[in-house]
């Protein structure tokens, strides 16, 4: 016996979800926290970059919508969210004009030309980052300067466990001694010097790395409010961290198992990639299985690009690479998971 349970006219009378604009503005708020932290150490250069990207993104969207006679969807917050995510992926000293061009590219090419919000399979912020990174590579490199946050052959010590402590700050020393004397002493562990500095860094680098303390807070907020699937960044960081631990020191002359997980996760845009880019369901796979596999693949590829390639922000490149495969992955998933007749 088969029946339709719902009589005519019966439908949900409430909605349990946090609305799309609510999500966008929450993500924007979290990204803005990162920008504020970074701004405090660079005379508000980071804030300037953020303002420029937001202005450029919203103006581009408004102009395109006006031109195509569509209603301007600024209230949904997606343009601001994309602009702020792009801002935190850029170095704090990048020329503002390039940041503006990147934001316009995100809105005009990646988002709008694919049909607008929800139709793009490439993350607009990550795509715009790629545009800026490879359109003006020299400007990007100059903006980063000789950042101590960048893992490179010039900075091999960063790849090794317990080796970031060289030249740690007084704040680092103070906080570390408190932690070692209380929490870590319970397990007879000891936090080496330098890791606290990662959270309050004022060195050059991308804004996400400079505002790590508040980025961490933002990731907690995003996960707690279920804006993303909390297991996605957890899986990403788990796979990435394991790879860093096992193989992370090899390219720099170390042995298996000597890689520095903490430095690997807290630099190179890894947290932003884990929480804001790879975990973005709008540019991810359809099924839980597919999402799981692509997240793991993004972590794996990100590790390879960063540690064995020449790109210190390889994690963002890896997300983009996986994004380009999304249409294919979704097509395969449709046939495999959603086109089959089910029983009973």
């Amino acid at each position: 016996m088969r029946e339709k349970d719902a009589p005519l006219g019966q439908k949900p009378q409430i909605n349990l979800a946090r609305s799309t604009p609510g999500r966008m503005w929450l993500i924007s708020a979290c990204a803005f926290l990162v920008i504020i932290q970074s701004s405090l150490g660079d005379s508000f250069s980071s804030l300037g970059i953020a303002l420029v990207t937001v202005l450029s993104a919203t103006l581009t969207e408004a102009l395109l919508c006006y031109h195509s006679r569509k209603s301007i969807p600024l209230k949904d917050g997606s343009a601001v969210a994309s602009a702020l995510i792009l801002a935190i992926l850029l170095p704090n000293h990048i020329p503002p004009l390039y940041a503006a061009a990147g934001a316009a590219f995100a809105m005009g090419i990646i988002k709008f030309s694919f049909g607008g919000l929800g139709s793009n399979w490439l993350n607009p912020a990550a795509g715009a980052w790629l545009f800026v990174r490879f359109s003006w590579p020299e400007a990007f490199r100059m903006a980063l300067g000789n950042s101590p946050l960048i893992l490179s052959p010039d900075n091999p010590a960063l790849a090794f466990s317990y080796s970031t402590g060289t030249g740690s700050s007084a704040v680092d020393g103070l906080v570390r001694s408190i932690l070692n004397g209380s929490i870590f002493s319970l397990t007879r562990a000891e936090l080496p010097g330098g890791y606290i500095d990662l959270f309050i860094s004022s060195a050059g680098g991308i804004i996400a790395d400079r505002g790590l303390g508040l980025l961490l807070l933002g990731t907690v907020i995003i996960s707690a409010t279920q804006v993303n699937r909390a297991w996605a960044p957890a899986l990403y960081l788990g796979v990435y961290g394991a790879l860093v631990r096992i193989f992370g020191a090899l390219p720099f002359g170390g042995e298996l198992g000597e890689g520095d997980i903490l430095f690997g996760i807290f630099s190179g845009g890894t947290l932003a990639a884990a929480f804001l880019l790879s975990g973005d369901p709008a540019t991810g796979a359809k099924s839980t299985t597919g999402f799981l596999l692509t997240i793991a693949a993004a972590a794996f590829t990100g590790f390879i690009f960063r540690y064995f390639g020449a790109e210190p922000y390889g994690v963002i490149l890896a997300v983009l690479l996986l994004n380009t495969l999304v249409p294919l992955i979704r097509d395969i998933e449709s046939g495999f998971f959603y086109e089959k007749q089910r029983s009973p």
Partner: protein
């Protein structure tokens, strides 16, 4: 005891504005009763009384004339003062008799002599059920007579399933009913089992009501049928036929039983069967959960069928401010009211009123669907779909500019049973389930 749940999707739903399931109160009798001639998805019964006629409590006032129609009875004694018609939120026109309370009650408060049904044949029981106009007391409200007639079990055994699965806090009325009329629920199950020729009673009970399951088993010893309890999960839509059958098959396999086909009825339907067969009484009243953020004192009321919804809210202290939405059924799956003069019908297990913005922050139970936004492809609809469909894709195919309603789309649309999970959690407030369900109906 092992708890059985359906494998994928679903929603865990808590709602502090739903009434407590601890106790019930009997509502005042209505001065004016509105007795609709049509059950919700059925066909209108033919009136057998006219304006000006005097009717007795429980008297036939509308006769069903075939499948989809159920007999309709007066629930209070009185005079038919007029007929009214109105357009429902489902889009069809309903008609009702308005009865002004007059004269003496013949059933209310009177001690009635029970009728021994043990010697009745299954056909006689089904005839009795049809005569008293019994319908499923929730959902589509199909006449039980039709369900019995359409049910064609295989040659194997048949199990009567008493569905006490509370996957929604708005099923408070059924929970109260199970406690207050436990014996009647079980005996109603035994009567229905006889009518369906079932050889076994199976109580499907939510995990949080395990004690109720034990009480059912104890009571079922009085009936010469093997009985058992299966504890189910409480994730919505566990009580839907498809999800319940998945659980029952799993239980059958794990326990090494041979349950055969399932005949599934809820507690309210079973007490109606009990009243009709044992006391020759149509459905005169029912337990209704009344609540929502706009209602002063949410509670479970025992209400006469035909009472106006406005009067029912008054029984609960009226409204706190102006309600934004008034609807029948659960907030998870209900239908809005055209106005407060609409009556309580046999399927009205709950009525609720929500304040503007549900009196809650956006995203909390009690919130109301707002303005639609563009789909962001978040995929949450896929995550919660218990059938494993891709609601986003189906919605875009059916409702999109391309209108790609190919055979494969329609085939998958037909698999949707309209639980509404996808629509409930869509951050873009898209009417996913409504659009897909409507397409499924068009196909049928």
């Amino acid at each position: 005891m092992k708890v059985y749940s359906f494998p994928r999707g679903g929603i865990s739903f808590e709602d502090p504005t739903a009434p407590s399931a601890a106790e019930s109160r009997t509502a005042f009798l209505p001065g004016l009763s509105v007795i609709p001639l049509m059950q919700y998805s059925g066909v209108r019964a033919a009136p057998v009384v006219s304006v000006g006629d005097f009717v007795k409590e429980g008297m036939l006032v509308g006769r069903g004339r075939g499948p989809g129609q159920a007999n309709v009875h007066a629930t209070v004694p009185g005079r038919v003062v007029k007929t009214v018609s109105w357009k429902t939120s489902g889009g069809y026109t309903n008609e009702a008799l308005v009865i002004r309370l007059e004269g003496a009650f013949e059933k209310l408060g009177k001690k009635e002599k029970p009728f021994s049904w043990r010697n009745m044949s299954p056909a006689d029981i089904r005839r009795s059920i049809g005569e008293y106009g019994l319908v499923e007391m929730e959902g589509a409200g199909r006449p039980l007579e039709d369900i019995f007639a359409a049910f064609q079990p295989g040659s194997g055994p048949l199990t009567m399933v008493i569905r006490c699965v509370f996957d929604d806090p708005w099923l408070a009325a059924d929970r109260v009913l199970c406690r207050e009329r436990l014996k009647e629920v079980v005996e109603g199950g035994a009567i229905a089992a006889r009518a369906a020729k079932a050889s076994r009673l199976l109580f499907a009970v939510s995990r949080q009501e395990a004690a109720l399951g034990e009480a059912f088993l104890l009571e079922a010893r009085n009936w010469a049928l093997p009985a058992s309890v299966v504890l189910t999960g409480s994730r919505y839509p566990q009580r839907n036929r498809r999800e319940l059958e998945l659980v029952l098959r799993n239980y059958e396999k794990k326990e090494g039983l041979s349950l055969g086909d399932f005949f599934i009825l809820g507690p309210a339907s079973l007490t109606a069967v009990y009243d009709a067969v044992k006391f020759q009484k149509p459905v005169l009243d029912r337990y209704v959960a009344v609540g929502g953020s706009a209602v002063k004192n949410p509670q479970v009321l025992k209400v006469r069928i035909g009472s106006r919804i406005g009067d029912v809210f008054e029984e609960c202290g009226g409204f706190i401010g102006k309600p934004e939405k008034i609807a029948i059924g659960s907030p998870l799956l209900g239908w809005s009211l055209a106005d407060l003069y609409e009556p309580v019908v046999k399927t009205s297990f709950a009525v609720f009123a929500l304040r503007e913005n549900g009196g809650k922050p956006d995203g909390q139970p009690g919130g109301k669907p707002g303005r639609e936004h563009r789909c962001i492809g978040c995929g949450e609809c896929r995550t919660v779909c218990p059938v494993g469909l891709d609601p986003e894709d189906l919605y875009k195919r059916i409702g999109g500019a391309g209108n790609r309603k190919g055979p494969s789309t329609l085939r998958r649309v037909a698999e949707c049973h309209g639980c509404g999970c996808c629509e409930l959690i869509c951050p873009s407030m898209l009417p996913l389930s409504s659009v897909i369900s409507n397409a499924a109906r068009e196909k049928h």
